[in-house]
Assembly symmetry: C2
Homo-oligomer: 250 residues x 2
DNA sequence: CGTCTTTTTGACCATTTTCAATCAGTGTGG
DNA sequence: CCACACTGATTGAAAATGGTCAAAAAGACG
């Protein structure tokens, strides 16, 4: 994990996220503010821990590229992954707003983060209400994703669960160009899936095979190929992502 | 479900939540703004549906008294309760910020709500950044609760799950005086518990009996008595509520 | 090539669900 | 007051789902 060389005042006009139609455009004023609000950049490699449960991080991050996941652990080591973090997603908002961090975040694929200072957050609220609203939007969106995850784990069986999760990851990843062909370019292992689905690795593996038998997905070379998104949606009784283009980010 | 008689400009100075040390105090300015921001009140009886999944509610609510729960359903009828709603909690923020409502809300015990207009929300952000921040705080808190619920369902077994959920409900209810003695004064059924825990009613019932055998809780007269909170926390490997006094609300 | 991680498989075990009743409490109308 | 209908709580037995243990196979990597 290291701070980028050209730390301060990286030009947000050239933000890599700005090129994706998935995200909203900033006004000139917002762009200028954000350029100043941004403290620097941070990169981290696979396996690095960006945030530790229980810590009081002084920062807030937006993912510029790469991926990570948010998780919690019980004292005896059982782990539950709550959500995955893709470009445009924000990391550490919970902690910035409420104090102590209640979850950890680990890097999945080499990640580049935009860094903001937690103690300047109030200033954003005071001077740029549209961005403040966007932050609430981002929090509400995370809430919504968690609702769906809860429904998934609580009420779907193993096969449906895996179908939902893979379809969800696939569509979210696709929106930020983390899909190559029918292949998810996020280096997820079956253990990650298992810890997200609330299943054991063994059963997750068997479930994936059943999905493969139905020609819905295929696990190959450490990665997941999606052969039939519609089939996955149908199996999981899911409507797909509600989001259109133009969603907020910071 | 009906609108209160003295709809407009109910004096927020006398807000019933203001008497609970659990919540933060408003400044005179905030209080005046909120009194105007508030559109009216709404009361609803047990079983009423306040919000329907898929709708575009024009309102946002804060619970003044009573209780409710938030849930989602699969097409085939399986239901998952995501969270319970107590006094001081906000209802409909997700929909207000993101558009369509992605979950339903049903009344548990006769409820009194403070009503706000969704289309005036931006005005709040523009003029009262402290309240805007509070809204983000509330969203982040919901996110945090959902994280814990996800860990609960995903990684704890039935006994631990029930222990966590009951302890959690008990402590949250206690903070807003919805506990009488050791008894939760929220008319929850074992089906509600089951749909929250991701278990069947039958197994939930058996699990509750096991908790009773251990003298941790007791189910009596349609309600739950908690005999040993510490024991529940220990069993669930949970630290209890992180919240201190002085939390925000609208 | 040897080591490490990840995936895959088999056999067996535990947990949880489903189905089917029964029981208890509540409220209703006669 | 009692018969009746209803909802919610309990229980038993059988079946299904998912977990654990152990080991092998397949890649990944230096």
């Amino acid at each position: 994990m290291s701070m980028g060389a050209s730390s301060h005042h990286v030009r947000c006009v050239n933000c890599p996220l700005g090129h994706l139609s998935h995200f909203r455009r900033f006004s000139a004023d917002e762009l200028e503010f954000l350029t100043n609000f941004k403290t620097g950049e941070l990169t981290a490699d696979t396996g690095a821990t960006i945030i530790v449960e229980g810590s009081h991080s002084a920062h807030l991050y937006t993912v510029l590229s790469g991926s990570a996941y948010r998780y919690k652990m019980l004292e005896d080591g059982r782990r539950q992954i709550m959500n995955f973090v893709f470009p445009g997603d924000i990391i550490g908002l919970q902690g910035s707003v409420m104090g102590e961090m209640q979850h950890s975040v680990e890097v999945l694929s080499p990640i580049r983060l935009c860094v903001f200072e937690r103690n300047r957050l109030m200033h954003l609220y005071e001077t740029h209400s549209s961005l403040a609203f966007d932050l609430t939007w981002l929090a509400a969106r995370e809430e919504q994703i968690l609702d769906e995850n809860l429904l998934n784990i609580g009420r779907r069986n193993a096969l449906e669960r895996a179908a939902y999760l893979i379809a969800n990851l696939f569509l979210r990843a696709k929106a930020v160009e983390l899909v190559k062909g029918n292949r998810l370019s996020v280096p997820i292992t079956q253990l990650h899936l298992a810890d997200t689905l609330g299943l054991s690795v063994v059963h997750t593996n068997r479930t994936l095979k059943r999905l493969a038998d139905r020609k819905l997905v295929r696990w190959r070379d450490r990665g997941c190929e999606v052969h039939d998104v519609e089939g996955l949606l149908l199996l999981a009784q899911w409507d797909g992502l509600p989001e259109g283009p133009g969603r907020p980010y910071l």
